[in-house]
């Protein structure tokens, strides 16, 4: 007897895809439970902490929504790129560049503008524009020189992070920061409307609205159609008259613009001052979210919401069970791992065959 891997001929049904997604979450939760058990803590208590606060209380839900916002912008950006099988790993860098753009605008370029309804659109344009430029760099390299976009976007992340660090440690260090790396606070006009004392802000609703925009773009426009065929079969797309090189650049621009917009919203909506490490890796978590959502913009909203809850929930585990922070990353890794394993099972089956 030995194990044989065979390709499945039929396509996976929606039901089995859903089942697989739920299963991969369950499996990673179970493994997480064993890790928590090995630390000498009660996993049931941990699950309760993980869910009850972020999803079960108003204050917790608020925190979840705020954590969802940057995740949603970045993962929607990735959905567009991944649809074309352009593996943009650079959402983190594009997010950083968007935050850089917003800070540049708010503190230096437009700091004399006191009307928020002029200021905020300008900042959004600047953040999205610089994020788009950062995406375009990788897009042009891919289209003109054939540079692998996984490598170029990943490396551009470091450039973006160090660029922001340079500014915050150096020329942008704010007055009153006492030589600690942090910029001055945004002027009032550069702050998004806040609806509750706990920080529900306009950015959250704009993020959800963006999912409708992405759905419309992918489903109902010629551009979305071309992304689809260029992703499925670039050769056939060329025959059908699609300029695939141009598409690569445009898609990277749109993808980067959405992540950059996320960076701007995070600055104007939540943080108001630029600091090193202001992102705990949103752009990387977004990769998992986009894949788990199977590149559907609406499902992305749900998954980003759950991941926002996960961020808040794991903090509760840390607070009340004193479990180390690295567990958050371990859990996300587990999720991705079981998702990829499940994906393989959708397309292949294992069979015992007699030798």
């Amino acid at each position: 007897m030995r194990l044989k891997i065979e390709k499945r001929h039929e396509n996976a049904s929606t039901f089995s895809v859903l089942l697989m997604s739920i299963l991969s979450v369950v499996v990673s939760l179970v493994i997480l439970g064993f890790i928590i058990l090995s630390l000498g803590k009660n996993p049931i208590e941990a699950y309760i902490q993980l869910v009850s606060w972020p999803l079960g209380t108003i204050a917790g839900l608020t925190q979840t929504l705020i954590s969802m916002m940057p995740l949603l912008f970045t993962s929607l950006g990735l959905v567009i790129a991944f649809k074309m099988k352009l593996w943009n790993i650079g959402a983190e860098g594009q997010f950083y560049m968007g935050a850089f753009g917003a800070t540049w605008g708010a503190l230096f370029l437009f700091n004399h503008i006191s009307n928020p309804w002029i200021m905020l659109p300008l900042l959004a344009l600047l953040g999205a524009g610089i994020g788009a430029g950062w995406g375009a760099l990788a897009g042009v390299m891919k289209a003109q020189l054939g540079v692998n976009e996984i490598l170029s976007t990943l490396m551009l992340n470091y450039v973006a992070i160090y660029w922001v660090n340079y500014l915050v440690y150096g020329p942008w260090k704010g007055a009153g920061s006492y030589n600690f790396p942090i910029t001055a606070t945004f002027p009032k006009s550069a702050i998004l409307p806040q609806y509750t004392a706990n920080g529900i802000n306009l950015g959250i609703f704009l993020a959800i609205a963006t999912s409708f925009f992405v759905y419309y773009l992918l489903r109902w426009t010629r551009f979305g159609f071309e992304i689809d065929i260029a992703g499925d079969n670039p050769k056939a797309a060329e025959y059908a008259g699609v300029n695939v090189k141009k598409m690569v650049i445009i898609v990277m621009i749109v993808s980067g613009a959405l992540s950059g917009l996320g960076g701007m919203m995070q600055m104007s909506g939540v943080l108001f001052r630029l600091q090193p490490n202001f992102s705990p890796g949103y752009g990387y978590t977004a990769i998992i979210i986009a894949l788990l959502a199977r590149l559907n913009p609406f499902v992305t909203v749900a998954v980003a919401f759950l991941f926002g809850g996960l961020i808040v929930g794991t903090q509760q585990i840390q607070l009340f069970l004193q479990i180390p922070f690295s567990l958050v990353n371990a859990f996300q890794g587990l999720l991705l791992f079981s998702f990829v394993a499940g994906e393989a099972l959708l397309h292949y089956k294992l069979r015992w065959v007699r030798a």
Partner: protein
């Protein structure tokens, strides 16, 4: 009638429970509680000392490795909205988020370590670490043979600059030609970087190492290269360099945490900027190791008494800066405001404070 009675009983029970329920206290740490340095000093002098002092009257939780800046905001909000009434934020880089969270939760008391902004529900606390640092400088000045002393420092904030200056004043009091060489790591806690910085200073000829870092990595580096080391934060650092370790300026945070928590329990807490010195016991010089000669020990003990009695002040003029400019004239003592915003090095420091 019956219902009303049951309702009253329930109300009474809730009232009693609310009254009897312990004060919920949360600590936010920038490193792990077993770092043998800064965070451990807060854990020992905070979490452990408060449990010992108040028992059932307090319920304490803590969270380790919270990055400074934005990520700490969620943690602060979670604590504040989950019934924690007293929150100690133990690193400078949380200040911006503490101010943000304090505005949203006016009924929660926040205490911010080493910051400078106050609000009606935000207090600040810190210690005059420059006093024991001066004493450790006396030892370093007496022990160096090359006349070059290395100093591994985190960020060029006033707190760190002040420590380097006090240390250098101590060095120069016994060894007027010695120099103190500064390297910035831009991190409070990053053992590999701290070690590299220490090694580079030792390779450049420094034969005594001092530090403003939360880990004992510089002490380890000194041990491996056979030079002397002065730790920081906690006397535990001695374990990492038995043939190198001289002493450490250390924290005893219980001198602040216990009375402060008591004020909150008693309802007498008021927002203030707590900044006390060796006299209060919040800062100390750890016992000097056997490597320190008796004559030096005597000198240090004598100076310690002078500082505690208030007869000697570390930042009393004449003090010159790196360029030889007289900054504090003879007989004048630097004001607290000037100390808290110090952004220049005294004569004898080799290094630069990055300008914007």
């Amino acid at each position: 009638m019956k219902y009303r009675f049951a309702f009253l009983v329930a109300l009474l029970l809730i009232g009693v429970l609310a009254f009897a329920s312990p004060l919920k206290i949360g600590f936010i740490f920038v490193g792990p509680i077993n770092d043998n340095g800064w965070t451990q000093a807060h854990y020992d002098g905070g979490v452990l000392a408060l449990k010992k002092a108040f028992g059932d009257k307090v319920q304490i939780t803590y969270i380790e490795n919270v990055p400074e800046g934005a990520p700490s905001l969620n943690v602060l909000n979670s604590l504040a909205s989950r019934g924690f009434k007293l929150i100690y934020a133990t690193s400078f880089g949380y200040m911006n988020q503490v101010m943000q969270a304090a505005k949203k939760h006016p009924n929660v008391i926040f205490e911010m370590c080493s910051g400078y902004e106050l609000a009606s529900n935000v207090g600040e606390y810190f210690g005059r670490m420059y006093e024991p640092r001066y004493l450790s400088g006396l030892i370093a000045g007496a022990m160096t043979k090359s006349g070059k002393i290395g100093y591994v420092a985190a960020y060029p904030t006033p707190e760190v600059v002040r420590g380097i200056n006090a240390f250098t004043l101590g060095v120069r009091a016994v060894n007027p030609r010695a120099t103190v060489h500064v390297v910035w790591t831009y991190s409070w806690y990053d053992p590999p970087v701290e070690k590299e910085a220490a090694l580079s200073l030792i390779n450049a000829g420094c034969d005594v190492m001092a530090q403003h870092q939360d880990s004992p990595a510089a002490v380890e580096a000194a041990q491996s290269k056979g030079v002397y080391a002065i730790g920081y934060d906690s006397p535990n650092m001695g374990k990492f360099g038995p043939d190198a370790y001289l002493t450490s300026p250390i924290w005893d945070w219980s001198a602040f945490y216990v009375p402060n928590t008591k004020e909150v329990l008693d309802g007498t807490w008021k927002s203030e900027a707590y900044w006390k010195g060796m006299k209060s016991g919040i800062v100390k010089l750890a016992p000097m190791s056997k490597l320190v000669p008796l004559s030096v020990k005597k000198l240090v003990t004598a100076m310690k008494d002078e500082i505690i009695s208030g007869r000697f002040h570390v930042f009393e003029g004449p003090i010159y800066d790196q360029n030889g400019k007289l900054r504090i004239p003879a007989g004048k003592i630097m004001s607290d405001d000037a100390l808290l915003s110090m952004q220049w090095f005294v004569n004898g420091v080799v290094g630069k404070i990055p300008k914007k």
